[in-house]
C-alpha cells in the first residue's frame, strides 16, 4: 500500500476525466452520480486501508511517515543554495502519509464522500449535473494532492487546484451575473495569497535547494541556525518564510484582511459551501501552518502575529454573524470565525489543538451547511430566515441534526466542539495570553448566540413564508438525510479522540494528541514554550466558564428569538440600536470602505480616462481594489505606448519626411541653380578641407 498512495488522489481525477471528457453528455444522471460517488468512496476506503496499514507499519513506530516519490518532476538544474552551495534543484512528484496527512485524508475523504452523496439528491433537478460532479471530483483530487503531497510544490499544486475548483463551483450558476463574479473574486483574492506563498517557497529553495518536508524539517530541527540568519524585510529568514506562507494561508483560509471572498462564495450550490468553504479547502491554510510548525516555532514573533490575526478574525466575523438574515451567510461568517479560532491555536503553538478543531469543525460545520441546504431545498431556494420559521414540524430530521450541530459548534459538552474549543482556550490560558483567551471566550459566547438565533428563526415559531412555499414544504429524501445523520454522529463522537487529561480523570487517553506528536518536531532549545502547566483548579474553572458562557449565549438566543419572537426582536434591533445594527449588518462597511478608497484613489488617477471606456467603468464598479488601480494604471500605460513609444518612432518618421521634402526642394529644376550647387560644393570641399589642414 505504501507505494500505491498515489492512487488515492488519482481516483477522483479519474472520475473527473470520465465525467468531464470521455463520457460527457453520454450517460444518464444515475451513472454520473455512480461514477462520482464511486471514485470518492473508493478513495475513502483506500484511505482508511492506507491509514490502517500505516499505523501498523514500522515507519509509524519509528515516528516517520510513508514517504514515496512517484517520479522526478522538475529537475531544474544547478542552483547556488545558501545552506549547501551549488546543488541541482530537483522537485519530485511524491506523497507522504504521516499522522497529520492521515487526519486530513480521513476528514477529506469521509466528509467528502457523504457530501457527494448528499449532492446527488440536492442537485437532482439542476441542469449541469455532470459538470457539477466533474468539478466536485476535480476538487477532491486537488484537495487530496494538497494533504498528501510530500513537498511544498505538490501541496501548492493542490492549493491552486482547489482554488480553481472553488472558482468553478462558486460560479456554477454562470447564467447569473453574481456567481461568476464571486468566483473570480475568490480566485484572485487567493492569488494574492498565493503570491506570498510562493515567495516563501522560493526562500526555502534558495536555502535548501529542496522543498521536500523530509529534507527540510529534520535539518531545521537539528540546526535552527540555518533559518535564524538574516532574511528579508528585516525579518529573520524563518520569520520571512513564516510570514509569506501565512499570507498564503490568509487568502486560502479567509483571514483578515483577505476574508472578503468567503461570504460571497456562498453564491455556489450549498453542498459546495459545505465541502469546500467549510469542511476542507478553507482549512488548508491551517493544515499548511501545522505542517510547517518547525518554521513557525522558530519565528515566534510571526506566530504571535498569526494568533492575533486569528483572534481578531474570530471575533470580527462572529459579530457580523450576529445580524445576518441569510442562513448561509450566518454559517459563512461562523466559518470565518472558527478558522480564526484555528489560527489562534496554531499561532499559540498548539498545533494539535488547531488540527483537532479543524477536524471537529469539519464535521459539524459540514453538517450545519447540509442542514441549511436541506432547508433551502425545502423552501425552494429561499435563504432569508425572516421568511422561514416553524420548519420544525415540516423537516424533523433536518431540525434534529441541525440542532445537534448547533450544540456542537456552541461547545456544549460532550459534543465535538466542546473538546476542541476547550483545548484552544486552554492553550491560550496556558500560554498566559489572557487577552486572547478573553477574545476566544467572547467569540464562543457569540457563536452560541447567533447559531441558536438561526435555529430559532428557522425552525421555531410559526411559518412566515408564502403559501405555495408552505404548500411545497417537505422533508428531504433519504439520500440527503442519511449524510446528515452520519455527520451528526461524527459531530457527536469526534471529540472523544482528544479528551484532555483533565476530564479523563488522570488517565492520559488523549489519543489525538499523541497521534500527532511525531509531526510537531521539537526544537533542541525548545524555542516554543509548549504546554507549561497551570493549576488544576484554574483549569477546571476555565472549562466551567467556557461552558457557562456558551450556555448563556444559547439562553439569550432563546430569550430573544425563542418561540414567535424572532422577527419582532429582529425589527426591535433595528429600531432600538440602529447604529450598531447598521454597522454590523453592513459588515463594518468593509466592502464600502474598499470601494470608497478605490473611487477616491482612482478619481485623481484618471477619471478622465474612464470616460472613454464603458468596459473599464463597469469593471470599476464591480471589481475590487486591485483591479481598479491596475485598470487605471493600465490605461495610462496604454497611452504611454500610444503616444510616447510610438510617438517617438513616428516623430523620427516625420522628421525624415521633412528632410526628404527639404532635399527635394533643392532640386529646383533650374540648371543654373544646379551649377551653383556644383560650384558651391566644390568650394565647400576645398574650403573645409584646407581649413582643416591649416589649423
Amino acid at each position: 500500500m505504501k507505494d500505491l498512495l498515489w492512487i488515492i488522489p488519482v481516483l477522483p481525477f479519474l472520475g473527473a476525466l470520465l465525467n468531464g471528457f470521455l463520457l460527457r453528455n453520454r450517460i444518464g444522471k444515475g451513472a454520473v452520480a455512480a461514477i462520482a460517488c464511486g471514485v470518492v468512496g473508493l478513495a475513502a476506503v483506500l484511505g482508511l486501508v492506507a491509514i490502517a496499514g500505516y499505523l501498523g507499519s514500522p515507519e509509524h513506530a519509528a515516528h516517520q511517515g510513508w514517504d514515496e516519490d512517484v517520479y522526478l518532476w522538475m529537475p531544474a538544474g544547478p542552483l547556488a543554495t545558501a545552506a549547501d552551495g551549488v546543488k541541482d534543484l530537483s522537485i519530485g512528484m511524491g506523497f507522504l502519509l504521516d499522522p497529520l496527512s492521515a487526519v486530513m485524508l480521513f476528514v477529506v475523504t469521509f466528509v467528502g464522500f457523504w457530501i457527494h452523496l448528499y449532492s446527488v439528491g440536492y442537485m437532482a433537478h439542476e441542469e449541469g449535473f455532470q459538470r457539477y460532479f466533474t468539478y466536485l471530483n476535480l476538487f477532491m483530487g486537488a484537495m487530496l494532492l494538497l494533504v498528501l503531497g510530500n513537498n511544498y510544490v505538490v501541496m501548492f499544486v493542490g492549493w491552486e487546484g482547489v482554488g480553481l475548483c472553488s472558482y468553478l463551483l462558486i460560479g456554477f450558476y454562470y447564467r447569473e451575473e453574481f456567481p461568476p463574479y464571486a468566483g473570480r473574486k475568490a480566485f484572485i483574492t487567493n492569488r494574492v495569497g498565493d503570491f506570498g506563498f510562493v515567495l516563501g517557497l522560493f526562500a526555502l529553495v534558495a536555502t535548501f535547494g529542496s522543498l521536500k518536508y523530509s529534507e527540510i524539517f529534520p535539518r531545521i530541527a537539528a540546526n535552527p541556525a540555518l533559518l535564524t540568519g538574516p532574511g528579508f524585510l528585516g525579518l529573520s529568514l524563518a520569520g520571512f518564510i513564516a510570514l509569506t506562507l501565512f499570507i498564503g494561508a490568509m487568502g486560502k483560509s479567509a483571514q483578515i484582511p483577505l476574508y472578503v471572498w468567503l461570504p460571497d462564495a456562498m453564491a455556489g450550490p450549498t453542498p459546495v459551501s459545505a465541502l469546500i468553504h467549510a469542511a476542507t479547502m478553507v482549512t488548508a491554510g491551517v493544515y499548511m501552518v501545522a505542517r510547517s510548525n518547525v518554521i513557525y516555532q522558530l519565528a515566534t514573533n510571526i506566530s504571535m502575529f498569526v494568533a492575533v490575526i486569528g483572534a481578531a478574525t474570530a471575533i470580527f466575523a462572529a459579530t457580523i454573524g450576529l445580524v445576518q438574515n441569510d442562513i448561509k451567510k450566518v454559517l459563512a461568517y461562523s466559518t470565518v470565525s472558527q478558522l480564526g479560532y484555528m489560527f489562534l491555536a496554531a499561532g499559540l503553538g498548539a498545533y494539535t489543538a488547531a488540527v483537532f478543531h479543524l477536524m471537529t469543525h469539519a464535521f459539524f460545520k459540514a453538517l450545519l451547511f447540509l442542514g441549511s441546504g436541506s432547508v433551502i431545498h425545502a423552501m425552494g431556494g429561499e435563504q432569508d430566515m425572516r421568511k422561514m420559521g416553524g420548519l420544525k414540524k415540516y423537516l424533523p430530521a433536518t431540525y434534529r441534526t441541525f440542532f445537534i450541530g448547533s450544540l456542537a459548534i456552541a461547545g456544549i459538552p460532550p459534543l465535538a466542539g466542546f473538546f476542541s474549543k476547550d483545548e484552544i482556550l486552554h492553550a491560550a490560558a496556558a500560554g498566559g495570553h489572557w487577552v486572547l483567551y478573553a477574545v476566544g471566550l467572547l467569540t464562543a459566547g457569540l457563536t452560541a448566540f447567533y447559531m441558536f438565533r438561526a435555529v430559532n428563526m428557522t425552525f421555531h415559531g410559526e411559518f412566515r413564508g408564502t403559501h405555495e412555499q408552505e404548500h411545497h414544504l417537505h422533508e428531504s429524501p433519504p439520500v440527503m438525510t442519511i449524510p446528515l445523520w452520519v455527520l451528526t454522529v461524527g459531530a457527536v463522537v469526534a471529540g472523544f479522540v482528544g479528551v484532555p487529561k483533565l476530564l479523563s480523570f488522570g488517565r492520559d487517553i488523549n489519543f489525538f494528541h499523541h497521534f500527532l506528536e511525531p509531526v510537531i518536531l521539537a526544537l533542541p532549545q525548545g524555542a516554543e514554550a509548549g504546554e507549561h502547566n497551570i493549576g488544576v483548579g484554574l483549569e477546571i474553572a476555565l472549562v466551567v466558564v467556557a461552558v457557562v458562557v456558551a450556555a448563556l449565549g444559547i439562553f439569550l438566543a432563546f430569550r430573544l428569538y425563542g418561540g414567535t419572537r424572532g422577527l419582532a426582536t429582529e425589527n426591535a434591533w433595528e429600531t432600538r440600536l440602529p447604529a450598531p445594527h447598521r454597522v454590523l449588518s453592513n459588515k463594518y462597511y468593509v466592502d464600502e470602505l474598499y470601494d470608497a478608497t478605490v473611487i477616491r484613489g482612482t478619481w485623481g488617477l484618471g477619471r478622465g480616462l474612464f470616460r472613454f471606456d464603458a468596459g473599464v467603468i463597469d469593471g470599476l464598479l464591480v471589481n475590487g481594489v486591485g483591479r481598479n488601480l491596475t485598470v487605471t494604471v493600465s490605461m495610462l500605460s496604454g497611452f504611454f505606448d500610444k503616444y510616447v513609444v510610438d510617438g517617438l518612432v513616428n516623430f523620427v518618421g516625420w522628421i525624415s519626411g521633412r528632410f526628404s521634402v527639404l532635399f527635394r526642394r533643392v532640386q529646383t529644376g533650374y540648371v543654373s541653380s544646379y551649377a551653383l550647387v556644383l560650384a558651391a560644393g566644390m568650394f565647400a570641399l576645398v574650403c573645409v578641407y584646407m581649413v582643416l589642414q591649416l589649423r
Binding site: 533650374y670 543654373s672 541653380s673 551653383l676 560650384a679 558651391a680 568650394f683 576645398v686 574650403c687 584646407m690
Partner: protein, 177 residues
C-alpha cells in the same frame, strides 16, 4: 626703353591678360550674344598671345585656328539660326546671380591666396625641350608632333573616336525629322 627691353615681355603679359579678362567679362555681361561672341573672340586671341609668351607657338596657332576659326563661326551660325528678336525682354541674370558673384569672388580670393602661397621653384630651366624633336632642334611644331605621336599616341586615337562621337551627335541632334 631700357625698361621696355627688360620688361617688354612682362608688359605684354599684363596687356593680354587684361584683354583676356575684359573679354571674358564681356562674355558674361553683355546682353546680346552676338557681342558676347565677339568679346569671346577677343579673349581667345589674347589667350593665344599668352601661349606665345610661354613659348607654345604651335598651341597658340591652333588656338587661333580652331577657336577663332572654327568654334566662333559655329557660335555665330547658331546665333543667326535662332532668331533673338525678343532678346530685350529676356531676363539677363537669374535671381541667384548675386550669390553666384559673391561665391565666385570668394572662390577666386581663396584660390589666389593659395596660389601665392605656393612656391614653385625655378622656372624654365631647359627651354630647348620645346623645340627639340628626335634629338635635334627643329622647332616647336616638330617637337610637339614628335612627342604627341610617340608618347601620347593612344589618347590621340581615342580623340578621334571622341570627334566621331561629336560629329554623330551634332548630326543626330541637329537633324530635323
Amino acid at each position: 626703353m631700357d625698361f621696355l627691353t627688360s620688361y617688354g615681355a612682362d608688359l605684354l603679359f599684363y596687356l593680354f591678360a587684361l584683354l583676356a579678362v575684359v573679354g571674358a567679362l564681356g562674355v558674361v555681361t553683355l546682353r546680346n550674344p552676338m557681342y558676347g561672341a565677339l568679346s569671346l573672340l577677343v579673349t581667345f586671341l589674347a589667350v593665344a598671345a599668352l601661349f606665345l609668351l610661354r613659348s607654345a607657338e604651335f598651341v597658340g596657332i591652333v588656338q587661333i585656328f580652331v577657336y577663332a576659326g572654327g568654334i566662333m563661326v559655329l557660335f555665330l551660325f547658331v546665333i543667326m539660326l535662332v532668331n533673338l528678336h525678343k532678346l530685350p525682354q529676356l531676363k539677363l541674370f537669374g535671381g541667384q546671380s548675386l550669390i553666384v558673384a559673391v561665391l565666385a569672388i570668394l572662390l577666386f580670393a581663396f584660390f589666389a591666396y593659395f596660389f601665392l602661397q605656393a612656391e614653385l621653384g625655378p622656372e624654365h630651366v631647359r627651354p630647348e625641350v620645346f623645340v627639340t624633336a628626335r634629338g635635334e632642334a627643329l622647332g616647336n611644331s616638330q617637337a610637339v608632333a614628335w612627342n604627341l605621336y610617340t608618347q601620347h599616341l593612344l589618347p590621340f586615337e581615342i580623340a578621334s573616336v571622341f570627334l566621331l562621337v561629336a560629329m554623330i551627335g551634332a548630326v543626330v541632334l541637329g537633324r530635323r525629322q
